[in-house]
Subunit: 467 residues, 2 copies
């Protein structure tokens, strides 16, 4: 479909972009428009490394759905690219600015509209911080489950855009699994409401699930009703240190076959040493692999005992029913990335393989680190097969940067060869675009492009990102 076709269909035609979009937009908005180059710098990049970012024409800080509609109507009319943006905590460059684009920031739309205790749902604006929603739910004895590593700083809108995961996915699923309905605005400014308050719904195509993980390429999310659960009670925690990574991953297979922990986290030796260096918490720095496992539910303690039994090959294993002590252990996992960041610049990957392929994937990562001469610290959500191997390098050194990139490429290759995915929970963004065509076939990409044209016929929404 060409732009001319579209213009004909919708009865509008593309006008050339005004010289000053910010000035043209400002009177239409209750929120503010930023056009000062220095002030716009904060909206150029997300938290990814080695991803390109352009200079936007304007940054709209929307304060209402009407602001989003007005911005998109304007952008659609003038065919100006729009980059939707939450808190900018993304790790794949999906919210990086594009030259001449309007960055549409949703961070000011941060109201928790309502919590329905009987229905166990929360209705929120897209800029609500994940941890704020979790805290508000907890006040009602309810639990917002998805817990990406960024939960203290990332927004629900951003979590929806990337279908964010986290630690509790092992038992409770990813963001997708906690969505009831989504309100969004199409590229041309029309509003849509998709999904259902009911847990079961097959009335029409599943547009809600299609929007989740679409990285701002199909529509701009302006609200969502998310499902809550009853608080899970006290968790029991198991820490197990293994002499070899193979033993650690063997134990993961046994754990998931016999029990259903809410989190099964893995840290390799490089990561354990970096964490111990930073925290001095007394981790076993001679271990080749550390597992941190949390069980919840009616028999957390009994389940933890079964986890201990599954870790029979461990050098050392320790279980605790004390929630505070448990969180102290889990802190080792939360510290993984900050600890590796102390060693240099980091290029964080987000690969997932079927669980039985984890040992092979870890062997490949070790071999790649040796071959390319870079340090790779590897940690991640073992029960989901989702690893975050992190290349540590000196970004100021071109030769090291090239080797880091080579290691990164080689890890993606290995992951695809093992039947894995190039991104489990961070999204394609800019960072993974070069690899997508090796995972997703030509016909499937044609379908995705066709769907994109249905939602966004002029291609203004986050062009060149995602699929």
């Amino acid at each position: 479909m060409t732009e001319t076709d579209t213009g004909t269909t919708t009865g509008t035609t593309t006008r050339s972009a005004p010289a000053n979009p910010a000035a043209a937009l400002a009177p239409r908005l209750t929120g503010s428009v930023v056009a000062d180059p220095d002030a716009m710098l904060a909206y150029r990049h997300d938290q990814s490394m080695l991803t390109a970012a352009g200079t936007p024409a304007a940054v709209v800080r929307a304060s209402s759905v009407d602001d989003v509609v007005a911005t998109l109507e304007f952008a659609y009319e003038h065919a100006i690219p729009v980059v939707p943006r939450g808190a900018g905590t993304g790790l794949a460059g999906g919210a990086n600015a594009l030259d001449g684009a309007i960055v549409l920031s949703l961070e000011r739309m941060n109201r928790i509209v309502s919590i329905d205790v009987a229905a166990r749902t929360a209705t929120v604006e897209p800029g609500v911080i994940n941890a704020d929603l979790a805290a508000a739910a907890a006040e009602h004895g309810l639990w917002y489950v998805p817990d990406p590593g960024s939960r203290a700083i990332s927004t629900i809108g951003g979590n929806l855009a990337t279908n964010a995961g986290g630690m509790c996915c092992a038992k409770y699923g990813v963001t997708l699994d906690h969505v009831a309905t989504i309100d969004a605005v199409l590229a041309d400014g029309r509003r849509i409401h998709v999904g259902s308050e009911t847990r079961k719904n097959v009335a029409g195509l599943n547009l809600a699930q299609l929007l989740v993980g679409s990285e701002g390429t199909l529509a701009v999310v302006v609200g969502a009703t998310m499902r809550l659960r009853s608080a899970p009670g006290t968790a029991s925690t198991v820490v197990a240190a293994f002499g070899t990574t193979a033993e650690a991953i063997d134990a993961v297979g046994t754990i998931v076959a016999r029990t259903t922990p809410r989190a099964v986290e893995f840290l390799d030796r490089t990561t354990v040493r970096a964490v111990e260096e930073m925290t001095r918490m007394g981790l076993d720095t001679e271990a080749a692999g550390l597992l941190l496992v949390q069980c919840d539910g009616r028999d957390a303690s009994g389940e933890a005992a079964d986890v201990v039994a599954a870790c029979a090959s461990a050098r050392e294993v320790y279980a605790t029913d004390d929630p505070e002590e448990g969180e102290q252990f889990m802190a080792a996992r939360y510290a993984a990335l900050p600890a590796l960041e102390r060693l240099g610049s980091t290029l964080l990957d987000d690969l997932a393989v079927p669980v039985p392929a984890l040992p092979a994937m870890l062997r490949e990562i070790e071999a790649i680190a040796l071959r390319t001469g870079v340090t790779i610290g590897c940690f991640g959500h073992a029960a989901d097969g989702n690893l975050h191997p992190t290349v540590v390098f000196d970004a100021a050194d071109d030769e090291q940067t090239a080797r880091a990139r080579a290691a990164f490429d080689a890890m993606v290759d290995a992951c695809l060869a093992l039947g894995g995915t190039i991104t489990g929970e961070h999204g394609v963004g800019v960072l993974k675009r070069p690899y997508l065509c090796r995972q997703v076939g030509e016909t499937e990409r044609e379908l995705m492009a066709g769907i994109k044209r249905v939602f966004d016929p002029r291609g203004i929404l986050n062009p060149g990102r995602g699929f």
Copy 2:
């Protein structure tokens, strides 16, 4: 998009349909083609009531993916509608034949290709019966969870087409939640592979979830890899009889807030009496509502005790940890529809409302039965708010049929007014098409139609069904 556009895009043009599609197709297939009018009768209808069905031009009984490809290439070339069909157990007319169409039966593609115990997945052809997959998984100590009422006779392909639910959805989700990957054939004969073996995957748009519940309108499913769980251990069962439906539903609210049962089933008085009449199992026929609750997991017995406590307002409550006795109680639920069918023709509905709206929905159903003078037996999956109110009438009597239809319409009205969905797990098919535009907005339907054109530009796949 017009057909001429499409023809140009794909490099093929529409040819007029041959006089005898069966004869033209037969030499291209390893499976068989049925064109005898009597033999084709068995492929005209699914199990729905009051749904129109046409006379097909041919029935293809595919025995391989190549047969499906050949059939679709032929149908696409000649713009002949194709109605994909599993076991024909649908309840909304989605697999009813259309005049002049090719019915594409997948029931002979019924091989369980493999079960991967380590990855806990099963790869199947679409014609595999749900219960056969469950039995094959059980041989490995694994569990295929989705358990629609039709599980003994319905296929995985059909379950995917309608995103079939069942009883265990309360805890474990619907068919959608158990899909890893889907292999399908597009209208023009091209094959696609969507989804991921990994539990987390955000590489591109979620085409797998889009196919699930699309009722054969986007592509023909020719294979799927479904996720399995470890066997859940012994279930504990609670039966509670209530003096009023309000008390029963109040108890449901308490149960789902405090516990996570795998099934919470409700039967109203009409249904209980019909079941007792048929089975003589000793149910309390004076009760206004019966709850059947099953708990599994590490502390099934303790959880069942909490369920009993939540049923404090019951006339009578009984719990058992004996699995055989538990299944005897659950048999009352399985008997609901057969028991009502003994009273006359039945028009089975499939409405879902948010759980807090269940009492209002049940009151509406009672009022509608009184007002229209028909019998309505109501049962369903209470924890999901998913009810199957079943109108009992004499289909040979036009006046009664009209009243049955009026009651059916009024129930859909009430459901929509309460924020519900017109179909929780049976699909839109033919039966629910008239109501869809009242649940799904115009813009959302435009998007669905646009997506349909992307997958099936000539509109040959199950036209007029679903969204």
